[in-house]
Amino acid sequence: MNTALRPAPAAGTSSLGIVMLCHTALHRAAQVARFWLAADCPVVIHVDRAVSDAQMDAFRQDLGDHPLLRFSPRFRCEWGTWPIVAATQAASEQMLQEFAQVEHVLLTSGACIPLRPAAELLDWLDTRRDVDFIESVSIEHAPWIKGGLSEERFTLYFPLSWKRHKWAFDMLVDLQRRFGIGRDVPRPLQPHMGSQWWCLSRKTLQGILNHPKRARYDRYFKGTWIPDESYFQTMVRMVSDRIESRSLTLVKFDRNGRPNLFYDDHLQLLRRSDCFVARKLWPDAQGLYDFFLSDQPARETPIDPQPAKIDRYFELAAKQRSDGRAGLYMQSRFPLDDTATAKTAAPYSVFCGFQQLFRNFDFWLGQTANCRVHGHVFAPEKVEFHGGAKVYHGAISNSAALRDYNPRMFLANLIWATRGERQCFSYNSRDTMTSDLNWFMATDRNAQISVISGCFILPLFRGEYKVDDVLGHIGWLQRREQDFIAILQSKWAAADIRVWTLAEFLEDPQRYLSQTVGAAFPDVGPAALTGLPEILSLDGFDEYLAHLRNLGLPPVLLQDYKR
């Protein structure tokens, strides 16, 4: 465009022109347009052709006549298609032609809202006359792309709309990949991408719209995918000499690539933004519209911009949606058995046989590691919570029936409810020991399971039960412990597992015990671990075992035991 054709500047027009692309919630768009008009900024509005005539008329009436207001030719803009660019081009041309004063053009949508007073933006832009604010990132370095297509957006053909023909769209992409069909990017274009919302200087925008090869480039971009995020971003690289590669519009995308909506409760968050415009608002976020379109932002003391805070807020929500909290089971999170994340919320320790071998092992461990140690949490009579509690954290009952109704959930609940405090409990083959639960613990990376095998006999031995009376019982217990150990030693086990036979353990109990406790409680120094709990007497145990063997029940888990 020739500068000579510029119409004479109208008095009282400011140097920032606003191009608004609207398709829904027109009453909100009208409010925002009035905000800009009140600051003497010319506004050119594009309304999607899908909007009915009745709505359009109401919108026009709502806005009324204003010397700085124009409506641009209407296109039917479908997501990710060329008409969005065409609409932007037409509206920008109109802006430059009809408002000579305009030095910068800001592209916004009808669901955007200004975050700061217009005067502040005008002053800020005044000191940056020739700078173009447009996020323009080379496609090799664009990390945020969703949907698998990055470079191929520019080198494949996209005759179909992704929104309407998803399957056919994917099919066509696959076929083109397989047969190596594609097209070249016209030289010297270097594909760049970035946020659709920009603020360009008059010189740059004219350079793009009046580019001698524009017709050729337009033809090319019509065939690319999502040109609204690449057309201006690519073209600007050829005509501008001062690009600041960032958008003045705050947009936060969710994991599906849709912009997160802002609601009234985001007010304080939005005030911390370093951007001038935010997209996109829930149309009924009355509080946000009331606040930002009034003179309140100008009157209140400004808050230090902390965009990192906004990023963090939305990143956390996205992470919660995609990864969730480990070890949590609820109505909206119920992961498959083999999901990679941990099965429980925090590390815990399971001791098998220690309570039978040592006198008051739980008390000793509690003293040494300064924690609360449960008894046999899976005991058949009741849950032996620390201190004999009837109800534990999270109101978990000590009823054995409730526990056995779903032992895995019971354990997961206990670990979840006591996050931040390591849980330790005893477990042996006398307890409610289902293979389901055993597998759950053995494949849980949070579990630390230490077994001294064969100790299940010790209480029977010490209780002076005659072997003949309890032979069947011993056989049953032994089978259960064997099954448990087989699971622990299977290749699928992921827990931190230590298994000793009684004889092995008694070779150097001090070392093995401090190893185990040291792994569970790294803070506990070696000095604290020197005081070994008293090992209960094993006098006469080998005769007991020999008797057992002679009665036809080989104590396989205690084969190497000799004194």
Binding site: Y313, Q320, M330, S332, F334, S397, S399, A401, Y405, N406
Partner: protein, 342 residues
């Protein structure tokens, strides 16, 4: 925890449940004859509707209406099952209610679900509908600042057609009849304790739904028969379609896919909570009556002990109880989740 079932079995369950759904719909249409119109209101095209079967809830109804109006429910559709305490008059006096009356058996209408199915089939199709009992107050992430419309808009944008919300039993500290709550007052002032983490969840492949049990009722009344503990799974907010049908109260819905609002890959989907204000003081007087009516359970005789225990006005509170503070607290405890709705 979830063990997937083979695809062939999944298809077979789909087939079986398709026929069950058709049967339930036909049954609902037949049972609609038990309803008589007492008051028919009007509502706008985008209004969120609330469906509720009610009987003698005089002390709860005012707050119930207040709570859901504040959330942005546009119109209430009640089935009044022979109230005798003035509830019906209160419902008829409101401007935003429609009321149907029925004196037929609550149990024979599958605990009101046939009536609700019939009304939703007629009026709910294509809309977002809340289905709640008079003692259930729905909350969801950001509920104090964002109305239901914001939530349904967002769910629409995510292509999700319902909001799961676990039922959270609230109870007072001290005997159940210790403090009374005047009609119209916030029941949460009296009932402000709950169990934070004793819920067990199982997956039911036939309906592809989750079965949540636990809470204070399991802890106190069903500690020896946990399989009889009440189901706490709920789907109080659904984008209704004419081919949907409630199966088992509002615990589960058909088609099967409408129960699959849980994430199987480890992420957290959005979930709300249904605050259950069952344990107001009046439950103690009502327990013997309900025991005699035997309308609330399929095999009612089994629950006689439960009613007897409630009639003794027990104290559900224990040292590990948690005091209710708000949805942020529930989210911290893992009872609800914003699931990406930042």
């Amino acid at each position: 925890m979830l063990t997937p079932i083979p695809l062939s079995q999944d298809r077979w369950f789909d087939f079986r449940m398709r026929w069950k759904r058709r049967r339930l719909r036909a049954r609902a249409i037949a049972k609609a004859r038990e309803l008589t119109v007492l008051k028919r209101g009007t509502w706008a095209r985008n209004d969120i509707l609330l469906f509720c079967t009610i009987r003698n809830e005089r002390e709860r109804i005012d707050w119930f209406l207040h709570h859901y109006r504040k959330l942005g429910v546009g119109h209430f559709l009640f089935v009044d099952n022979d109230s005798t305490d003035g509830t019906r008059q209160v419902l008829l006096d409101q401007t935003d209610t429609s009321v149907w009356g029925s004196s037929a058996s609550y149990k024979a209408s599958r605990f009101g679900m046939d009536w609700i199915n019939a009304l939703m089939l007629r009026y709910g199709s294509g809309r977002w509908c809340v289905v709640a009992d008079a003692d259930e107050l729905l909350i969801y992430p950001h509920w104090e600042t964002r109305p239901l419309g914001a939530l349904t808009d967002w769910l629409d944008s995510q292509g999700q057609q319902g909001l799961p919300a676990m039922m959270l039993d609230l109870y007072p500290k001290g005997p159940l009849d210790g403090v009374s709550c005047p009609a119209g007052a916030d029941p949460l002032q009296v009932l402000n304790w709950f169990d934070a983490g004793n819920y067990v969840i199982a997956h039911k492949p036939l309906l592809d739904c989750l079965l949540i049990q636990g809470g204070p009722r399991a802890r106190v009344f069903f500690r020896d028969t946990p399989n009889r503990a009440p189901t706490l799974t709920k789907l109080p907010l659904v984008k209704w379609s004419w081919h949907n049908a409630w199966v088992n109260s509002t615990h589960s819905l058909l088609p099967r896919a409408m129960n699959r609002f849980y994430d199987r890959t480890g992420g957290e989907a959005i979930a709300g909570a249904l605050l259950h204000t069952k344990f107001l003081h009046s439950i103690v007087e009502k327990a013997p009556i309900e025991k005699a009516r035997a309308q609330h359970f399929g095999n009612a005789a089994v629950f006689d002990n439960y009613y007897d225990a409630v009639a003794q006005a027990p104290d559900l509170w224990c040292e590990a109880s948690t005091q209710f503070e708000g949805w942020q607290q529930l989210e911290q405890l893992g009872l609800l989740s914003r699931g990406g709705w930042a």
